[in-house]
């Protein structure tokens, strides 16, 4: 079929397009040359420089701290929201609630960043770690909610009746049925929140202040003001970090019962 060949060619082109920059980047991080088209020999000097840079270490600590805080709070908020959306599907309140959870998904980062900045400035809140964490929770909640909601919609609530029918009390139902079955879905939502928080640059850039520099913000300022070769190495380390979290997240969602 000709359309099939056309689509195969486009698909191969797209795959090449997707991986070319990443492969180049990884290769460059081990290249002794700064930008060079030429390979100047394998080197780990950029990695050494990276681990000596205390600002980078500081930014990493900030990133992880913010991601952890955002993950914990957004997972709690999102799980409650998903439960309410699923359980009270037909109520009027939930259709408003649904719109409120859905909307942040389609608002561009720039708008979310500037509107939160305006809120914090008009409420005279000092910009810093706290404002960044609040902002991250805000955009993570929707993603957690929809991840958990998808899981809840597949969940056969009849089995709770079955467990009760077989004599189980509330605690036993929670420990033996709910936790093992819904845990992975909630964990997947949490992983998603963690990656999103680690990944965010634009919102952090708007609502961040002194002392709340995260890795993406650090990468941005390094890109703007020199030191590009270190970024190669930093990128690869960062990539390895996100990959680990993403793979765990993937594992949680793929695991079917």
């Amino acid at each position: 079929m000709r359309t099939r060949y056309t689509s195969l060619i486009v698909a191969l082109f797209v795959m090449a397009f997707m991986y070319l920059p990443i492969v180049t980047l990884i290769a460059q991080s081990f290249n002794a040359s700064r930008y060079g088209g030429r390979w100047m020999g394998f080197s780990l000097k950029w990695y050494e420089a990276l681990f000596r840079d205390s600002a980078v270490i500081n930014a990493t600590v900030n990133t992880l701290a913010i991601a952890c805080a955002a993950t914990i709070f957004s997972t709690i908020l999102g799980t409650c929201a998903a439960w309410a959306l699923n359980k009270y599907r037909r109520s009027k309140l939930q259709s408003v609630h649904y719109a409120l959870v859905y909307a942040p998904l389609i608002v561009p980062d720039v708008l979310m960043g500037i509107s939160l900045l305006l809120l914090f400035v008009s409420m005279k809140v000092q910009l810093g770690m706290l404002t960044v964490i609040i902002a991250h929770i805000t955009f993570c909640v929707s993603f957690v909610t929809f991840t958990v909601l998808a899981r809840l919609q597949d969940f056969d609530f009849n089995i709770l009746n079955a467990a009760q029918d077989l004599g189980a009390g509330n605690f036993r139902i929670f420990a033996k049925i709910l936790l093992p079955l819904l845990g992975p879905g909630i964990a997947a939502g949490a992983m998603m929140a963690f990656t999103l928080s680690m990944d965010d640059f634009v919102v952090t850039f708007f609502v961040g202040g002194p002392g709340s520099t995260t890795l993406p913000v650090k990468v941005y300022s390094m890109m703007k003001h020199g030191a590009p070769a270190i970024i190669n190495a930093l990128s690869v380390v960062f990539m390895a970090l996100t990959f680990t979290v993403a793979i765990i997240g993937q594992f949680c969602t793929k695991r079917k019962f």
Partner: protein, 367 residues
């Protein structure tokens, strides 16, 4: 009281919808009792009330003469086989079946003995380590039954247990259910919308429609002697005629004038008096087809024209037209179909029936 399990004046609303309207009936110890009705008739609600998953707005539920109306599901000696089995997807078959006794806190050695015994009853011995999503629908069904029976419930509730199975498996599982029932002797309440299942399995059937019980009786009583037009049409095929009592013959027999078809002597079960409007139901197989009036000696008969013939192997279904009425007639092949001349399209025939094979239902104003 006297009944083993009893519903008394149950009322149930979902929001503004009145789903169960003052329903009372009893189930005897050891029987298979079916609740039969179309979807939305309230039968599943009755089952959920029995299981404790719904609380009726008013009315009482008795098990073994004890009022259990407000008892939580996990405190009732009643277990349920859920419609889509509701097996715990993260536990293997063994753990699924063992859930009940483990919850009850039985020692593991005793649990193992009981599970083995149940696995034997459902003929899945050796399959204990399989996960629910790796076994067939029929096997899941049997696991769900074993899981519910292992607690030795006084009453087993089955909610459309065969609905998700294909026809062959359904027929096999009907035999299996009957066998398991014989083996354990537990009282079953069986909810279904499939009249075939209810007829072949049940000791007694309650036909439900619109939140009320239309009729309770043995399968034969319900088929041969439906009390309402709904029961007559829901169970099996039938032909309805509007009629009026036009005279009395003796204490048991009256004359009914049926539409434009004429006046026929009929069994008068309800002792209706002259002028009463009735609906007459005659099952297709109660008709016999003859070439001439003389052959139908002693029977009621109508002249009709054959308009369609559907040969079905064991029987033939005829559609005949008598004075503008399409009538469905079923003729059993007691002799070889090819040996004699059979009525065919366009033939003039006489369809005949015995006066006792008529069911008269007092006219119901449309609801």
């Amino acid at each position: 009281m006297g009944e083993f399990f009893e519903f008394k004046n149950i009322e149930k609303y979902y929001g503004a919808t009145h789903v169960v309207k003052n329903v009372s009936f009893g189930v005897r110890c050891g029987e298979i009792f079916s609740l039969l009705g179309p979807s939305g008739c309230g039968k599943t609600t009755m089952l959920r009330i029995a299981g404790g998953f719904e609380t009726p707005e008013s009315g009482e539920v008795f098990l073994d003469s004890v009022n259990i109306t407000s008892l939580a599901p996990n405190k009732r000696k009643i277990n349920t086989v859920f419609q889509n089995y509701a097996l715990f997807p993260h536990m293997n078959i063994w753990d699924n079946i063992a859930f009940g006794p483990r919850t009850a806190g039985l020692p593991e050695s005793e649990v193992a003995k009981k599970v083995e015994c149940m696995l034997d009853i459902i003929r899945l011995g050796g399959h204990g380590s399989r996960m629910p999503d790796t076994i067939s629908g029929g096997q899941k069904q049997r696991v769900a039954i074993a899981r519910a029976l292992i607690n030795n419930p006084k009453l087993l509730l089955l909610d459309e247990p065969l609905a998700a199975l294909d026809l062959k498996l359904r027929q096999y599982m009907l035999l299996e259910l009957d066998r398991i029932h014989d083996e354990v002797g537990t009282t079953f309440i069986y909810v279904t919308h499939d009249q075939g299942e209810a007829m072949s399995l049940s000791d007694r059937i309650a036909v439900m429609n619109g939140g009320v019980i239309e009729q309770i009786g043995t399968p034969a009583e319900i088929y041969e002697n439906p009390r309402t037009k709904f029961v007559a049409s829901f169970i099996g095929d039938t032909n309805f005629f509007d009629g009026k009592i036009s005279g009395q013959i003796d204490g048991e027999t009256c004359r009914i004038s049926m539409d434009e078809l004429g006046e026929f002597p009929s069994y008068n079960e309800h002792k209706l008096s002259n002028g009463a409007k009735v609906t007459v139901s005659i099952r297709p197989e109660k008709f016999r087809i003859f070439g001439s009036r003389a052959e139908a000696e002693g029977l009621n008969a109508l002249e009709a024209e054959v308009i369609d013939v559907v040969y079905q192997g064991a029987q033939t279904r005829y559609w005949v037209l008598a004075n503008g009425h399409r009538i469905n007639v079923l003729s059993q092949h007691n002799r070889c179909y090819l040996d004699s001349k059979q009525p065919t399209w366009g033939d003039k025939v006489w369809i005949a029936w015995h006066r006792d094979d008529v069911t008269t239902i007092p006219f119901e104003s449309p609801r």
